[in-house]
C-alpha cells in the first residue's frame, strides 16, 4: 500500500503477518484474521518526544501524544490520565516486599477507571474519522466511560449491556444520556449480536472496529509509571487480565520508551492477575501452554470476566518473554485484597484491584516476585463501582444511644480485646 502518514502514525499492521492497511476504522487482517495494530514513525517521534517536551506539557495522558494514535490534537478526554503513583510502604510490609507502588487509576477522570484512557483515544480518533455515533458492548466500566466521554464531545452513543447487570452500573451510563440497550441471552449470543451490530451500522464501535486505536490508550498507563518512577522501568509490574490487552500494551510502552531513549534498557517482568472464576490465561500460563481454553465466567470480578480473551495468546507470550508469572484468586481472596489495599493505603478499589493485590501477595509469597525487589500494582477501577461485592464483608457498624457512657463502654471493650 502507499504510505500516507497521519500525525506520527504510519499504518495499521497485522500482528500475525505484518501486512499493512490504511489508517481507517478496521480491525482484522483480511488474509489471516490477525488483529491490526497501529505502526508509528519512531524516527520522527524521537525528534519530537523528549523528556523536556513531555515535562512541559499538562499533566494528562496526552503529554505522550506522539505515541498515541490521533492525527491532530485530541478532542475527547483531554484531562484523562496522569493518575498518582503512590509509594505503598504499609502494603509492602503486609505483602512482604521491599518496595511497592500503586498506579492508582481508581481516580482516573472522568469515570474512575482506566477505561477512560482507551475511550478518550478511541473517541478522539472516531471524531477524526468522521463518525457521529459511537458504541460499545460492556459489563460496566467501558459502558460508563463511553457514555460520559461521548456526552462531553456531543457524540451520540449506544451502549449494549447484559440484561442482568446491576442497577448501579446501568444508572452510571444512563445519567449521561446514552442510549442504553440491555440484551437478554447467554454471553456467547450477546457477544455475536454485538459483533454483528458493529459490522452493520457504520458506527465507531470502540472495542470492535476502533480496537486498534482504542487499545493503544492503555500504553499511557505504562508511560506514566516510567516517568513517575524517575524515567525507569519497574522491575515487576502486576496487571489485571480480562482480554489481556492491558498487559501487552504495558510491555509495548516499556519497549517504546526504551527504543526512544527515554529510559535505560533494564530487565523487567510483567505478571498477570485473574479471578479463579474466570482464569483462562492464568491456567494456561501455569500449565506452560501457549494457548488458552475458553471458560464460562463465574466470579465477583465482573470487569475481568472475559471467558475468551481476545489478547490471551499475546499476553501469554509477553509473560514468557519477560519472565513474568500469572496466578488467580478466589472471590474471598479478592475481597481480602480489596481490604488490604484499603486498610493499608486508603485506596478503595473495585474487584479487579482486589484481584491484582491478592495475586501480588501470592506471587511474592511464592518467590516469583522476589521479596528484595520492587513492584508496581496496576489498580484499574474505583471500589464505589462494585459495592455489592463487598457489602457484608467489611465489618459492621456499632450503634449506641446518644450517651457518652455507652461510647466509653465500646472503647473499654476494644481495649480489653487489644490487651
Amino acid at each position: 500500500m502507499s504510505e500516507k502518514h497521519e500525525g506520527f502514525m504510519k499504518a495499521l499492521k497485522c500482528r500475525e503477518c505484518g501486512r499493512e492497511y490504511p489508517l481507517a476504522a478496521t480491525h482484522v487482517c483480511e488474509f489471516d484474521f490477525g488483529p491490526l495494530e497501529v505502526a508509528y514513525d519512531y524516527d520522527r517521534i524521537k525528534k519530537s518526544l523528549t523528556k523536556a517536551a513531555i515535562q512541559s506539557r499538562p499533566n494528562s495522558m496526552w503529554r505522550y501524544r506522539e505515541l498515541l494514535p490521533v492525527a491532530g490534537e485530541p478532542t475527547v478526554g483531554k484531562q484523562v490520565g496522569f493518575t498518582p503513583l503512590v509509594r505503598a510502604d504499609r502494603l509492602a510490609k503486609a505483602l512482604g516486599i521491599r518496595e511497592l507502588w500503586i498506579k492508582n487509576d481508581t481516580v482516573n477522570y472522568p469515570t474512575l477507571s482506566f477505561k477512560d484512557r482507551v475511550v478518550s483515544v478511541a473517541l478522539s480518533r472516531s471524531v477524526e474519522l468522521g463518525f457521529k455515533t459511537v458504541a460499545c458492548a460492556s459489563t460496566g466500566n467501558l459502558a460508563n466511560s463511553v457514555a460520559a466521554n461521548a456526552a462531553s464531545a456531543g457524540l451520540k452513543s449506544y451502549v449494549f449491556i447484559p440484561a442482568d447487570l446491576e442497577q448501579g452500573k446501568i444508572v452510571n451510563s444512563l445519567v449521561y444520556g446514552a442510549n442504553v440497550i440491555t440484551i437478554k441471552g447467554h454471553y456467547d449470543e450477546v457477544n455475536r449480536l454485538c459483533a454483528e451490530i458493529a459490522g452493520k451500522f457504520g458506527w465507531a464501535f470502540v472495542n470492535v472496529n476502533m480496537r486498534p486505536y482504542y487499545a493503544e490508550g492503555s500504553k499511557s498507563m505504562g508511560y506514566e509509571i516510567m516517568e513517575q518512577l524517575g524515567w525507569n522501568i519497574p522491575q515487576h509490574t502486576v496487571v489485571p487480565m480480562a482480554s489481556g490487552s492491558l498487559l501487552t500494551k504495558i510491555q509495548k510502552s516499556y519497549q517504546e520508551f526504551t527504543k526512544l531513549g527515554l529510559v535505560s534498557e533494564s530487565a523487567y517482568s510483567i505478571h498477570g492477575a485473574q479471578a479463579t472464576g474466570c482464569s483462562p490465561i492464568s491456567v494456561a500460563q501455569k500449565a506452560g501452554l501457549d494457548f488458552f481454553k475458553p471458560v464460562k465466567p463465574n466470579t465477583i470480578a465482573k470487569s475481568l470476566a472475559i471467558g475468551t480473551p481476545a489478547d490471551g495468546f499475546y499476553a501469554l507470550r509477553v509473560m514468557k518473554e519477560t519472565g513474568g508469572a500469572a496466578d488467580d484468586v478466589t472471590d474471598d481472596e479478592i475481597r481480602e485484597g480489596i481490604r488490604m489495599l484499603a486498610e493499608n493505603e486508603g485506596i478503595f478499589a473495585e474487584t479487579a484491584g482486589g484481584v491484582t493485590t491478592a495475586v501480588a501477595k501470592k506471587l511474592i509469597a511464592s518467590g516469583k516476585i522476589p521479596a528484595n525487589d520492587s513492584a508496581v500494582l496496576c489498580i484499574t477501577g474505583n471500589g464505589l463501582k462494585t459495592l455489592d461485592a463487598v457489602v457484608g464483608h467489611v465489618g459492621k457498624t456499632r450503634e449506641i444511644k446518644p450517651s457518652l457512657r455507652e461510647f466509653e463502654a465500646i472503647l473499654a471493650s476494644e481495649e480489653k480485646v487489644g490487651a
Binding site: 457477544n191 482480554s243 475458553p294
Partner: protein, 94 residues
C-alpha cells in the same frame, strides 16, 4: 473516513458472510464437523486458518449463506460442543 451505514432491514433470506473462530475441545477434534456443517445446512464453508493440537482445535471459518441458515449452523455447532466466537472474539469488554 467513516464507513457508510449499511443498516438495511435484516431479513432471514438476506445472504451474508459471517466470520467465526471455532474452538474444539479434545473430544471433538477427530470429528469432521465442518464437512457435516456443509451437508446439514445450505452454506458455503471456507477455512481461513487453523491450528490443531492434542489439547484444542482452533479454526477460523467463513460462512456464506442466508441469515437463517447461518444462525441454525451456529446453533448446531454450539450444541455439538464447539465454542463459537465472532472474529472479533470478545465484542463485550469489562
Amino acid at each position: 473516513m467513516a464507513a457508510k451505514p449499511k443498516n438495511k432491514p435484516t431479513g432471514q433470506d438476506t445472504v451474508q458472510q459471517t466470520r467465526l473462530w471455532l474452538m474444539y475441545p479434545p473430544k471433538l477434534i477427530k470429528k469432521p464437523l465442518i464437512w457435516e456443517l456443509g451437508h446439514k445446512f445450505k452454506i458455503v464453508t471456507n477455512i481461513r486458518q487453523c491450528s490443531v493440537s492434542d489439547e484444542i482445535g482452533i479454526v477460523c471459518l467463513e460462512l456464506d449463506g442466508k441469515r437463517q441458515e447461518v444462525k441454525a449452523a451456529i446453533k448446531w455447532l454450539t450444541k455439538s460442543g464447539v465454542s463459537v466466537e465472532p472474529v472479533e472474539i470478545s465484542a463485550i469488554a469489562g
